[in-house]
């Protein structure tokens, strides 16, 4: 029976700006095995789709029952008559929910469970206001914690794989431990019998069965630090342990049963030791590995190290760890995003600096540390600048221009324009910095300048060099090399004056004798043979419209003399910082960072054709040109505010339309599972060095502070995504989910996973923490994790993944046998493994690559 059926629909609703219904477009309709089938366009951020049906046009609509999967609906009942009228209704997510997700993904490094809760509480407007004023957010991440060592409890459940218990460190070091308990069952209510004799070390070790080995021979009972009672155990390892012969062990009597579940708990004192503590039964039925730091990674030691005045201390790894821990932990998330943006915009290359310092005589073992410090100081300067409410782009340009890392990176350091006595002509200045200043840092490529301007500007920078200045002269570019000695009594002048015997810091030094003092005609029109038309300064093209079009922006730098010539460079910066070209180029870059990839340069602002993208860029430029607060031009926060308040930023089509860079992917993954437990520890622990050298290096060679090309790392998705880099991202997610898992058995194939260092996530602990008694519901766990990992997508658009996720939780490890998730005891090994598997799965989808 052929059924001519007519479709009823209205145009697709694009913007889910409120909780109102929208009606997605039906684009295919027919019969499949006699049952009606609809295909419709999914709409962004939809909570729920409903299929509405009527037998006659204009008739009352009622819900039609059927199966819905990713934009395809198949009716439960066979078509009942010659025609039917259908409509798809969709309930969008509340706009506040979409905006919260968008904010945490764009002005932060991804949602954390706690931040998601907090933004729901305070509202998105308050969050924006707070993040735009980071100076008001208390933060002491770089201050060492003053709490000192504290006792932390560890609990772990497993089976009685053996009756021998080991404890050891994975390297030399020591630790304080107390109050060991082992009880039958998966919960220790504190009253069950302790199967470990002398677990509180109140009696001499010899009276119980605690045994020392060669590696642990110096271990002993102690009263120095005690959790309860009169004594604790001081574990001291001269080398790493791994098994019974090199650990401290205890034989439990009577024997444990492999078929029985046990729960082990103990307390340890946190310390700054690098080593990790391992406590486990032989066979690892019950096993736990914990860093002695207590699971609280802090950037403070890295900060201290990088701030040290000692020549060559720190290093690029230290700097990367400091940077990544701030990205993960800082409450000033927007400030961190902005700092990374600036670091990447004003790109410099650590390894080139290091090589340069090495070449000019710094011992090669010290050069890398000094190079890392220059990157570090740049970053401190970005941070300090953005904490100023009226920070301008000119402030940032100056920081970059004066940064020794930049002077070295783009070769200004050796550039000269003085007379070469042999040829009697001015030396040819190096064009590298002048070009990138125009092309990449301020105006944008081919935007208001030409090759002749590059040549002229390059002369302005001659004389800008780098030297090791006395620490009290670092802001004086006319100072000469430090003559303050660490050891002034050295009689050999070479030794006394060697860089390693000087008190100082690598700094910007201006050498007037290298400067090309000639008149510079910058941004003037050229004749046909390239000659500068000094009576024809360039004017801003018509496409910029009011108030910019037609403005004359030629810059003539007069013949200078002596130290006054340093002003050439500053005059160029001040002149370029607020030109419409700079306004346009930076506005487009910020929109690409915060909104989506498809913003372009060269819009015609003067014609009647506008796109929302063009309008937003224009609004940014207006905020730059005439800020609402009446302050100076070019205030960064004013431009950011325009973007964050725009409809485009808040559109549900914009949400999750950008691809995470390797940095954003790694940090967002660790943040997604990072919730604070009551004892102050977190359900996610980052190993920043591993993140940097592992994931970020492999998934596209994102080496922070060491980009070779001056365009910085890309912001667009296709710059990062390929089959090879996706495989690396999935391997990371899978390894991270596996690390720390307490599997019943570990098949050989699994042990081949990548190292994620000491990074750990505890997805099961997280859902238990957040869901309480609902943590046994597969639906609740799947919905919670999807809401966390895909906060703007909407359950209606995640129906397929949701079904896969729930099935996953309700299936045993072989992938086929049903195994109800609700029967798994929260905290048990099977529960832990099942939730970890789901985390790995959800982190591996295309949706988690997005932000």
């Amino acid at each position: 029976m052929q059924l001519p059926r007519t479709l009823v629909s209205t145009l697709i609703g694009v913007l889910a700006v409120s909780a109102q219904q929208i009606t997605p477009d039906i684009h295919w309709f027919g019969l499949t095995n006699g049952r009606p089938e609809l295909r419709f366009q999914l709409a962004p951020s939809v909570q729920e789709y409903r299929i509405r049906h009527s037998e006659s046009p204009g008739g009352a609509l009622s819900n039609a029952s059927g199966i819905l999967s990713g934009g395809v609906w198949t009716g439960t009942n066979a078509a009942s008559g010659p025609s039917g009228f259908y409509q798809v209704e969709a309930s969008p997510l509340p706009s506040e929910t979409v905006l919260a997700g968008a904010l945490l993904n764009r002005i932060a490094y991804g949602p954390t469970p706690d931040e998601l809760d907090r933004i729901r509480q305070i509202g998105t407007s308050a969050y924006i206001a707070e993040q735009l004023a980071p100076e008001g957010i208390a933060e002491e991440l770089d201050q060492p914690a003053d709490t000192g060592p504290i006792w932390r409890k560890v609990t772990v459940t497993g089976n009685g794989s053996s009756s021998r218990l080991y404890m050891y460190l994975d390297g030399p070091g020591d630790a304080y431990l107390d109050d060991f308990r082992l009880v039958a069952g998966s919960v220790d209510n504190g009253t069950a019998a302790n199967l470990l004799p002398n677990g509180g070390f109140e009696s001499p070790l010899g009276t119980s069965n605690w045994r020392l080995t060669a590696n642990s021979a110096n271990s002993a009972r102690t009263a120095d630090y005690v959790r309860s009672g009169q004594a604790a155990f001081h574990l001291e390892m001269i080398a790493a342990g791994s098994t019974g012969t090199d650990s401290v062990y205890l034989d439990i009597v009577p024997s444990l049963s492999a078929a029985q579940t046990y729960t082990l708990s103990f307390w340890y004192l946190t310390s700054s030791e690098d080593s990790r503590l391992v406590v486990r039964l032989s066979g690892s039925g019950v096993s736990v590995t914990t860093p002695l730091s207590g699971g609280i990674e802090s950037p403070a030691p890295f900060f201290r190290n990088l701030s040290s005045p000692v020549m060559g201390s720190g290093g690029i790894g230290t700097l990367r760890s400091w940077h990544l821990l701030h990205a993960i932990q800082s409450r000033r998330q927007l400030a961190e995003v902005v700092r990374q943006f600036l670091e990447n915009h004003f790109v410099t290359q650590y390894s080139k600096t290091s090589e340069y310092l090495d070449n000019i005589g710094l011992p090669s073992e010290l050069a890398p540390g000094e190079a890392a410090k220059l990157e570090f100081r740049e970053n401190l300067a970005w941070r300090r600048a953005f904490l100023n409410p009226r920070c301008t782009f000119l402030d940032l340009l100056r920081i970059s221009a004066e940064s020794p890392a930049m002077i070295i990176y783009l070769d200004t350091v050796g550039s000269r324009g003085d007379i070469n006595t042999a040829t009697r002509t001015n030396r040819i200045a190096n064009e590298n910095y002048a070009r990138e200043l125009c092309e990449l840092f301020a105006f944008g490529v081919d935007n208001g300048y030409d090759q002749g301007d590059i040549v002229q500007i390059s002369r302005a920078w001659t004389g800008w060099t780098v030297d090791y200045l006395d620490t009290n002269q670092v802001s004086n570019p006319f100072a000469v090399r430090s003559t303050r000695y660490i050891n002034a009594s050295l009689t050999n002048a070479t030794e006394r004056n060697s860089l390693t015997n000087l008190v100082g810091q690598w700094s910007f030094r201006y050498r007037t004798e290298r400067h090309d003092p000639r008149v510079k005609w910058i941004f003037y029109e050229k004749g046909s043979n390239g000659t500068i038309l000094t009576n024809a300064p360039k004017t801003v093209p018509a496409r910029f419209g009011a108030p910019w079009a037609g403005r004359n922006y030629g810059l003539r730098l007069a013949y200078g003399s002596g130290t006054n010539n340093i002003q050439d460079g500053y005059a160029v910066l001040a002149h370029m910082a607020d030109q419409p070209f700079t306004q346009e180029y930076l506005s487009v870059k910020l929109c690409r960072l915060l909104v989506h990839d498809e913003f372009h340069h060269g819009y015609d602002f003067s014609d009647d054709v506008h796109t929302p993208e063009e309008d937003l860029v224009h609004a940014c430029m207006m905020a730059w040109e005439s800020p609402r607060n009446g302050g100076p031009k070019g205030q960064v926060r004013e431009v950011l505010r325009v973007i964050l308040e725009s409809d485009l930023f808040r559109s549900s089509l914009t949400a999750s339309s950008k691809v995470r860079t390797p940095l954003e992917f790694g940090v967002a993954t660790l943040r997604a599972f990072r919730s604070r437990r009551e004892d102050g520890t977190f359900t996610s622990v980052a190993d920043p060095a591993n993140l940097s050298d592992g994931l970020m290096n492999r998934a596209g060679r994102m080496r922070l502070f060491d980009r070779a090309e001056p365009d910085g790392y890309p912001e667009d998705g296709s710059g990062w995504i390929s089959a090879g880099t996706l495989a690396e991202r999935l391997r990371f997610a899978q390894s991270l989910s596996l690390a720390g898992a307490n599997l019943v058995t570990t098949p050989a194939a699994r042990s081949a996973s990548d190292s994620v260092g000491s990074s750990r996530i505890d997805p099961a602990g997280l859902v238990m923490l957040k869901l309480g008694s609902s943590a046994t519901s597969a639906e609740a766990v799947a919905d919670y994790l999807m809401g966390l990992l895909y906060p703007t997508e909407g359950a209606g658009n995640l129906a397929t993944i949701r079904k896969v996720a729930i099935d996953f939780l309700n299936t045993s490890d072989n992938g086929s046998t049903a195994s109800a998730f609700s029967t798994l005891l929260p905290g048990s090994r099977n529960y832990d493994g099942r939730v970890r598997g789901l985390a790995a799965l959800l982190l591996s989808t295309p949706r988690f690559q997005e932000q």
Partner: protein, 540 residues
Amino acid sequence: MNMNSPQILSRRSFLGTTTGMAATAALGCLTNVPLFVQKALADGTIGRPGPDGRVKKLLFIFLRGANDGLNNVIPHGDDAYGPLIRDNIQIPVDPAQTWNVRGRALFPTAGATGGTYDYPFSIPLGNGFAGLHPSLKFLAPIYNAGELAMIHRVGYPRQSRSHFDSQNYWETGAPRDPMVKDGILYRAMYESGRTQVNSLTGVSFQSSLPLMLRGSRAAMTNITDPTRYDLLGVPNNVDGNLKMANALAAANSAGFVPKQNRDMLQQQYANMSKTLDIFAGLNFSEAGNTFVDDENTDGRRPYHLFPTTNDKNGGGPGGTGNPNYVVPTSAYGFFNQLKSAALILNKTDAIVAGTQIDGWDTHSNQGGVTGSHANLLRRVGWSLYALRKYFKNHGDQCRWDDLVVVTLSEFGRTTIENSDNGTDHAEASVMYVAGGGVKGFQTNALGAVTRSGIFNCGPSDPVAWQTGMNGTMFQSTGRYLQRATDFRSVMGSLVRDHLGATQEQLNRIIPGYSVAGERLQSGGTQSADGVRITGELPLV
């Protein structure tokens, strides 16, 4: 909701949405693409086996940062090349060599005691005018075999001096046209229709997919480290990844809201899922890198073709300065990638593959006979030599006669050195084209040179090299080399005459290729900006 506007689905909206649906199909199901959006497979012969059962292929090496062409193929016949313009970075001529005799290129070998690159002079190329940087000495045997073309002064009209714009133009094949956002080799693969059929078509081995291979209608493949190209599965008490694999495939089959980047993500996921097994079947390991030169060029022991360890670099143990090393130790990563590209062309149905060499932006301390630029050139010289030997002696699905190797670089550098003993951004530079079918140097039965294989670096070339301080080296506002050949003419003739595109396909692969005013085919003085150019060269 509006009940009063019943909407009959039009064909247009069906097309508009059905392609989106196709992209939502299960991983790897590209055959689900409706017939009317498939490319016809009938046009041209790109990717189709010839009578010998083999496919013509192309390997690219992009020299990113702008290679100083003047210190590659050096115009010694021009007396302006010398200390006046390049006091610190010039490559001197060997007073013991005769320059005006036409014939083969010199191949200076070190012998059993000298260092590989001991020869400190420009290598006479036998055309009476040009010399070769001594670090490119391994090009000489390829040149003498008649399998190498060296094309000087390659560029495009109104050359951008931005690395990034200029690289983009080379990669899109559409200079100064920001509307073209996909890559020249992507379009060649898409036009061939093989993206519907082959598991692999275009492959790169580097940190990200280059623009040359990017496009929206089909996914090309980029692998950073083939030895790590597999997935791990999830925490699991059971061997095998069945549970994870099934769940991932099911999750990734979900339809999705169309947003920016999502089609690209879906395509790359699909590409990953269908290529994992292919890579798993090939040996990319260090232990598998056993290919050794069949000649002992420097009298000690033959080099490995892909030097990836000190031992395979010919010199045995020793520091970075070991004079026996054929490539710098910092080049091992690159040679690993080059080996992967060679392997994938030789062992799979991939049609184009390649990688890149970074670091050519020599603004300061460029060096001359030795130094940073020389170290980069050693990579190039040995790459082409090694690829020739690999495909000649180990060719399987691809032999040397089936292959063309091409180097690209976004622009050249200033003729005059700057105050940092370096060179700044300029215009035209050098391209190398090598392969068994390349029409290079040739002599007749009497030994007289009938073809030189050197283009645009001689006084009697069609666009002749003008000597002197107002000559070719100072053409474009004073200190830049102007183009004499458009890179699109080179790429175009390779895509058509080697890979097998029809002229109609080529006109789409390189937009505007046949536009008369561009003169890309015929050459002439009426090119886009009035500069006299050669048009296509007889390369293959």
